[in-house]
Symmetry: C2
Subunit: 339 residues, 2 copies
């Protein structure tokens, strides 16, 4: 066990997308757990679009990370010392452990013990983590897809979007993916089995949607907002559901950017737009995880990962996400994971 704990701290408050220079890496002593606490050696750190919100000063669904604090993050790791009942050395765990080598945490920071030892530990941060759960509850509970309907998802090659498309297909829907660039479109079609997909950067959104959604849109799983959403909104069917999961295309919400008003679409089509935050479903994670794990084992739910090796990649990793440079769920590997 190394004696140094490398930590990524928030150095300055970004106004838009967090950049590498908004963080600094420091070295601290490895902390020791007090009674009731657990010491975790992190092996994978998560990188996700929601982190922009976590460091934003604008009112949000969680308190912003403080300047000088360890960057908030999900991580997966191994318990190396436990003074808490129910956790033992060697357990694999996932939770809010932050961007650091070691975390001393109370048991309530541990989302769960990872018992799917037949699957890679990294899946606990992706398809069997927040991303897969977001797709599962956002699509099924908020989007309410019915067999035969058309489900459109933006950032479709991403870890949430790719799961949304596959779960839509498992439920008998036609899945249409919107992604940035030919490589991601190919991933949607070849790796994830979308019925159709197109590159929003390659020409006219309207004609691409006309071509891929000849029967209109019943469920739109929105990870982007912006012009992509504006084009999809024009094609909603009567009774359509729009799941607002993310706003990746909007660089800043302060001041509020303007776009075409949605009220008339919603009224004429008796459609619904609903915001969705996965943490509200925390009590139901245990219902979804075995379902997701079985889909992964059977090959119905595939995933891609974009693994960066070394904590030194963490500071610039969020900005890279927003530039679309990753193919698959972005992770930072900082230790050797067991199988």
């Amino acid at each position: 066990m190394q004696s140094i704990n490398r930590q990524v701290l928030l150095k300055s408050r970004p106004s838009g997308i967090p950049q590498a220079e908004d963080f600094e890496i420091v070295e601290a002593p490895v902390p020791q757990p007090a009674d009731g606490q657990v010491l975790v050696r992190n092996l994978y750190l998560s990188v996700e679009p929601a982190m922009r919100g976590w460091v934003s000063a604008v009112a949000n669904y969680s308190q912003p990370v403080g300047i000088g604090e360890v960057m908030r993050s999900f991580a997966a790791g191994r318990v190396v010392a436990s003074k808490a009942p129910g956790f033992h050395e060697g357990d694999l765990v996932v939770g809010m452990f932050g961007w650091q080598d070691y975390a001393v945490v109370d048991p309530d920071a541990i989302q769960r013990r990872v018992d799917e030892r037949d699957l890679p530990l990294s899946t606990a941060l992706g398809v069997l983590g927040l991303n897969g759960l977001t797709a599962y509850f956002g699509l099924l509970d908020v989007g309410q897809p019915k067999a035969g309907e058309t489900v459109v998802v933006s950032t479709a090659a991403g870890s949430v979007g790719s799961a949304v498309g596959q779960i839509a297909r498992i439920h008998g829907c036609r899945a249409v993916g919107i992604a940035g660039g030919a490589a991601k479109v190919a991933m949607c079609l070849e790796d994830f089995g979308f019925d159709a997909a197109f590159d929003y950067k390659a020409g006219d959104l309207d004609s691409a949607l006309d071509r891929t959604c000849p029967n209109g849109v019943d469920v739109y799983f929105d990870n982007t907002s912006g012009e992509i959403s504006d084009a999809v909104m024009k094609r909603l069917n009567v009774g359509a559901r729009v799941v607002i999961c993310g706003t990746a295309s909007v660089a800043s919400w302060d001041p509020l950017p303007k776009g075409p008003r949605v009220e008339r679409h919603l009224l004429v089509k008796r459609a619904r737009m609903q915001g969705f935050v996965i943490f509200d479903y925390a009590k139901h994670y245990d219902e979804a995880l075995p379902v997701l794990a079985d889909w992964v084992r059977s090959g119905k739910l595939r995933y891609r990962e974009d693994v960066l090796d070394g904590i030194e990649h963490a500071p610039g990793a969020i900005a890279g996400l927003y530039r679309g440079e990753n193919l698959g769920k972005r992770l930072i590997r900082i230790g050797e994971a067991p199988r």
Copy 2:
């Protein structure tokens, strides 16, 4: 029975709000019912904001009224001849009879026979008609208000808005009305018992909302869209519901007007915006009408009417609504109603 049927025809397709010159009044012979049909003498014609949509060429939830056709309208009247089973001379009926003295209709154009003979016939076009039903289902089914919550409604002194506020109070909510002008604010507070109301034309919307909604907004019943809605959206509570019922403040939707994007509000607050068209509830009208009628009889649900005497007032009546010149449900009286 007079021998002339005065009819108000759509003469030209308005691009925004229909004006008097978009209609013409003609005289035709009184039609006679064929087998299976009913001849109705209209006594009250309805005037409503939704008529703007009915004459609009822009895709909508119903086919537009054709040029040269009688203006589509709800009306209440008396059966003067019936060749249809179930309807008899002297019955009071309400339905889609158009802006005309006499209508020959198939039974499916008749919304219902009016059996509340203890209440004025005009209520069948307002608080016991489309307006009351819109308030009832829009608020209760789409808005899902819970006791103790704050319900905000725009065009609060209008026939829908005033019913929304009163039904909210019947359900234990705090009702806040937004109306245009001091007279309408006074109506909200004095006639309809809102807990608070303010004039959106008199100064700053933000400070008026801060003052009247100190605990934020749980349900927003939106009849206006536009700047009023933009201000309310900033105050949504977690889990808030926005009922999109009308867009009175927007003069034209072609091209789509721009406004502040709503996605971030919806996401952060896990809030819902949902469009609502009363006709989707047609099969449930019979459940709501006795409830509404009892509230009217007990004085819990009050209403105001703005009655124009004579069919010659019909052509300009919609534009007048959008200028806010009416105090209460606007009706055209074209015959003597029985009590």
